[in-house]
């Protein structure tokens, strides 16, 4: 386990800011305790310092996971966000997409969201903007990338993709063993 280097922190913040913008400050600077990011086995974990101090008592090869896993740093030093970060992305999300109940299941199986399944979308979403996907009852389902701007979404035909799937909570079952 080690702290992130400057480059790794930068790539991670860039990725996170795509979804939550400048609300990253709220993750770093929290009123209810000091939380920090640590890297272990190429994965980035977010934990309080209490948990960190407890985790130092476990040897590296026996330590599986600490706190919440935000994502992993790939071999080419890129940061990949995992579904386990959803709990921290959802409350601070800037651009949201609501999905109709009919195509909720399709999204949870890993498919992209089509215009026919789109319930609502925040105004002024730009193209390729990171969005958090909610169900109509405001339950966060996952996150993705907007394929079209809000304006275009209104005009386009019902069978075209409006949100690219990146992660959904169905992954907790599908890729159970790779999530840590």
């Amino acid at each position: 386990m080690r702290p992130l280097t400057d480059e790794e922190t930068k790539t991670m913040f860039e990725k996170l800011s795509k979804y939550i913008g400048e609300n990253i400050k709220l993750l770093i600077d929290r009123p209810d305790g000091t939380y920090c990011f640590r890297l272990h086995n190429d994965r980035v974990y977010y934990m309080s310092e209490k948990i960190l101090k407890l985790a130092t008592n476990i040897s590296r090869d026996k330590l599986v996971s600490v706190g919440t896993c935000f994502g992993k740093v790939t071999k080419t030093q890129k940061f990949r966000l995992h579904i386990t970060a959803l709990d921290f992305l959802a409350p601070y999300a800037k651009f949201k997409v609501w999905v109709k109940p009919g195509s909720e299941q399709s999204f949870l199986y890993g498919n992209h969201i089509m215009k026919s399944g789109l319930g609502r979308i925040t105004e002024n979403t730009s193209q390729y903007q990171g969005v958090v996907v909610y169900s109509m009852s405001d339950v966060p389902l996952g996150f993705g990338v907007a394929a079209k701007t809000t304006q275009e979404c209104r005009r386009v035909d019902p069978m075209s993709i409006v949100v690219f799937h990146q992660a959904d909570i169905g992954e907790y079952i599908r890729s159970e063993d790779t999530l840590t």
Partner: protein, 356 residues
């Protein structure tokens, strides 16, 4: 007097004789074992400790050494002699005592790259015959080496392949390929030797043979820079040259539980820098906004000229989004138009705050 002198003389002669014999004859209980090859004599006789302790043992030791050496010299005289430069030299036979090793036994050599691979794959060594039948020359030739069979560098006629450059020298090409194979074989052999003896081989780029890549050159430069007596402390830099911060292979990270406050501060600073680097003016948004404004103006103009038709036409053309904006702008525009009259374009941009 004479008689006693004669007796004396005889006795003296006898004594001298005994002396002489004593000098070369030594009485020992057990015979010594000799190894003339090593000039070695083993004396297995018991040592009388009382004699040893009498006069501190010096005389006893000296006489013992003298006796044994005498016996050894006697043994040497028994060997065949020859005369070398007016000196009588005895020819020593081969030694019979086995001596232990002088130096430690050689360690088994580490396997070469091929041997490791063969062991991994389970490849057995196949016995090959030394001579191969060469069909062309109709005789038996070596498989490898001097005047071997199927030597492609020795052909007198080579067909130029269709895909090859007609001006290329095929004979030279084959010779060059052979030289490269030989060089590569030699290089690999040396690498095996270096691995066996754990000699450090210079890293990539430090013993250049061919074109270097940028990273190899950079590494060579860095190594050369610190190869001074002061480890590169007083070496000048080029104006725009950056010192590579990671010297060597070991990376240094921050401590795991460092100062949380400073860590937080660093991250917040990083965020601030990232924010400042992001362009204030989002180009696409600005362009879209400008386009919307132009559409609204043209809509207003057409509305003025066509009245109801123009308005309806506008709404359907731009869809809901633009229509909403148009509607909002239109409402205000109507008021403004009423207020400002023929000026039309007098709408101020601060009216359109947009939907943030």
């Amino acid at each position: 007097m004479a008689s006693c002198s004669i007796e004396d003389v005889l006795a003296k002669a006898e004594r001298d004789e005994a002396e002489k014999l004593r000098s070369i004859a030594v009485n020992k209980e057990l015979d010594l074992e000799f190894d003339p090859g090593h000039l070695l004599a083993f004396d297995k006789n018991r040592v009388d400790t009382r004699e040893f302790k009498d006069n501190k043992g010096e005389d006893f030791l000296r006489s013992l050494a003298r006796d044994n050496t005498q016996l050894l010299i006697n043994e040497i005289w028994k060997l065949p002699t020859e005369k070398v430069d007016e000196v009588i030299v005895a020819k020593l036979p081969d030694s019979t005592t086995p001596l232990p090793r002088e130096k430690p036994a050689p360690k088994p050599k580490p396997p070469t790259k091929w041997e490791q691979f063969a062991k991994l794959k389970g490849i057995q060594k196949k016995k090959k015959t030394n001579m191969v039948w060469d069909e062309v020359h109709k005789e038996w030739k070596r498989r490898w080496g001097y005047k071997r069979a199927n030597d492609d560098t020795k052909e007198w006629l080579i067909e130029v392949p269709v895909t090859a450059d007609p001006n290329e020298d095929q004979f030279a090409k084959r010779n060059k390929a052979k030289k490269e194979r030989v060089a590569r074989n030699e290089y690999n052999r040396l690498k095996n030797v270096a691995r066996a003896q754990k000699i450090k081989v210079p890293g990539i780029g430090l013993a250049p043979t061919s074109q270097q890549s940028k990273s190899e050159l950079a590494q060579a430069v860095n190594v050369a820079k610190i190869s001074t007596a002061s480890v590169g402390k007083f070496q000048e830099k080029l104006p725009k040259e950056k010192t590579s911060k990671n010297t060597g292979k070991k990376r240094k990270f921050q401590p795991l539980i460092g100062d949380f406050g400073s860590e937080k501060q660093k991250q917040l600073d990083l965020l601030k820098v990232m924010d400042s680097k992001k362009p204030r003016l989002d180009v696409t948004k600005a362009v879209n906004k400008q386009m919307r404004e132009e559409d609204r103006e043209s809509a207003q103009k057409s509305k003025k000229s066509f009245g109801k038709k123009g308005r309806k036409g506008n709404m359907s053309g731009k869809g809901k989004g633009k229509g909403m904006a148009g509607g909002k702008g239109k409402g205000k525009g109507k008021g403004m138009a009423g207020g400002k009259g023929p000026k039309g374009k007098g709408r101020k941009p601060n009216m359109k705050q947009g939907k943030r």
